[in-house]
């Protein structure tokens, strides 16, 4: 199929009712091809672009071609779940940073992450999801009010790039092996942190600045918890034949929550951080942000796969 048509259908698709989606997209594609063929000069790239331009705004096309509920309402639900997932990714990431750093975090004006305890963590994850769901609803309403679709297009752009990047990659046992290697590495890191670093500190005072004891041990425990959960998810992914986006979403979120739970249970090594281990604080912040970003991409990829283009 022509790349212009595919691109146009991708822009129409999010605004369609799922039940009619495949039928409508096929008909739109056929209609564009027929109109292009009937133009003077036939099937040229210029004619194709002109025909697609004449179709109008993808959102209006979707609304005009749909017969069921208003397309915006259906799209609203999809976008709400996407936005909730993205906000939740940020919330969990912030909570992990809070737990690791041992303090509260405020991301003005909407997000406040308190210093978590094992008890407060129980309801924090649930309540923050409900909060993010409500916040997503408000943001969409504001977005709709001002007719700004840039944010959605941006998120979909990330999802498309992710899909293209992963194109051709197949699910294999490599995923399980890779995650198993992560678990083993974390175990080795734990052993080194538990027994090796104190010995190194005893030998060289400089090491204390970068790897203050007892910081290294809890830190590797958090990573170990995260890697273990991701390994378990990878095993389930292969055994249950899950879609890739489920693996990425559950693996990222599960890993992040495992890190958060472990960090909350073990408690932050505040004493060690106050001693001046700034490189480690920066490393931690970058690490948690990178995992949050991975989760963010997993959510957008899930959204893309969830609305996967039909076979045309």
């Amino acid at each position: 199929m022509n790349a212009h048509i595919t691109e146009f259908l991708e822009r129409v698709r999010p605004f369609l009712v799922a039940a009619d989606e495949q039928d409508i997209l096929r008909e739109i594609a056929g209609s564009i091809e027929d109109r292009e063929a009937s133009m003077p000069g036939g099937g040229t790239d210029e004619n194709m672009v002109a025909v697609i331009a004449a179709m109008g705004d993808p959102r209006d096309v979707a609304a005009a071609w749909s017969t069921g509920r208003p397309a915006v309402a259906v799209n609203y639900l999809k976008v709400q779940w996407l936005l909730t997932g993205l906000l939740y990714a940020v919330t969990v990431g912030m909570a992990a940073m809070s737990a690791v750093a041992g303090g509260s975090i405020i991301l003005a004006p909407v997000l406040y992450v308190p210093r978590l305890t094992p008890l407060s963590l129980l309801y924090y994850l649930l309540l923050s999801f409900v909060f993010d769901y409500g916040l997503a609803s408000i943001l969409i309403q504001v977005n709709e009010h001002f007719g700004n679709r840039v944010g959605i297009e941006w998120a979909l752009g990330i999802a498309r790039r992710e899909r293209d990047r992963r194109h051709g990659k197949r699910k294999t046992a490599d995923v399980v092996v890779r995650n198993l290697v992560d678990v083993v590495v974390m175990l080795i890191l734990y052993l080194v942190a538990r027994f090796g670093v104190p010995y190194a500190i005893w030998l060289r005072g400089l090491v204390r600045f970068f790897f203050p004891d007892p910081f290294s041990v809890p830190f590797t425990i958090w990573l170990l918890a995260m890697a273990a959960v991701q390994f378990a998810v990878a095993c389930l992914y292969c055994a249950r034949n899950w879609p890739t986006y489920v693996y990425e979403l559950v693996g990222s979120l599960g890993g992040m929550i495992a890190l958060l739970v472990a960090a909350t249970l073990t408690g932050p090594p505040v004493q060690s951080l106050r001693e001046g281990a700034m490189p480690i604080r920066i490393f931690l912040a970058v690490f948690v942000l990178s995992v949050t970003w991975g989760l963010f991409k997993a959510v957008t990829t899930a959204f893309f796969d969830w609305n996967a283009a039909p076979e045309l």
Binding site: D20, D23, I24, R26, G30, D34, V61, A64
Partner: protein
């Protein structure tokens, strides 16, 4: 949009249903319907036609099938028995209204 445009749009709603039911005695796909209607002086926008076809299909007045035998997969629509019954009723209404307008015009002119 002028008042005439609004009025035409309202009138076309029933009119397009009728012409589609008349035309689809033999199977046709969307763009073919547009072309045949154009050749007979009926200009219909595709954004109007396709939803109309789907609505008539949902009501059971039309049936459809995808034909992938050609180079391009096309969805062919055809009128059903239920559609034929609907068409007869609409034609009766159409003819009755046409006669009523003629009669009124004659009365006013005389």
């Amino acid at each position: 949009m002028s008042e005439v445009d609004n009025f035409e749009k309202e009138m076309n709603r029933g009119f397009f249903q009728l012409v589609v039911l008349l035309l689809l005695e033999k199977p046709m796909y969307g763009y073919m319907i547009v072309r045949v209607l154009e050749q007979n002086g009926v200009v219909v926008d595709e954004n109007t036609l396709y939803p109309l076809l789907r609505r008539l299909e949902e009501k059971g007045a039309l049936s459809s099938r995808w034909d992938a035998a050609e180079a391009k997969a096309r969805k062919y629509y055809e009128v059903t028995d239920q559609g034929r019954a609907l068409r007869s009723s609409l034609l009766e209404i159409w003819e009755h209204q046409g006669k009523a307008i003629q009669s009124l015009r004659r009365e006013v002119e005389s």
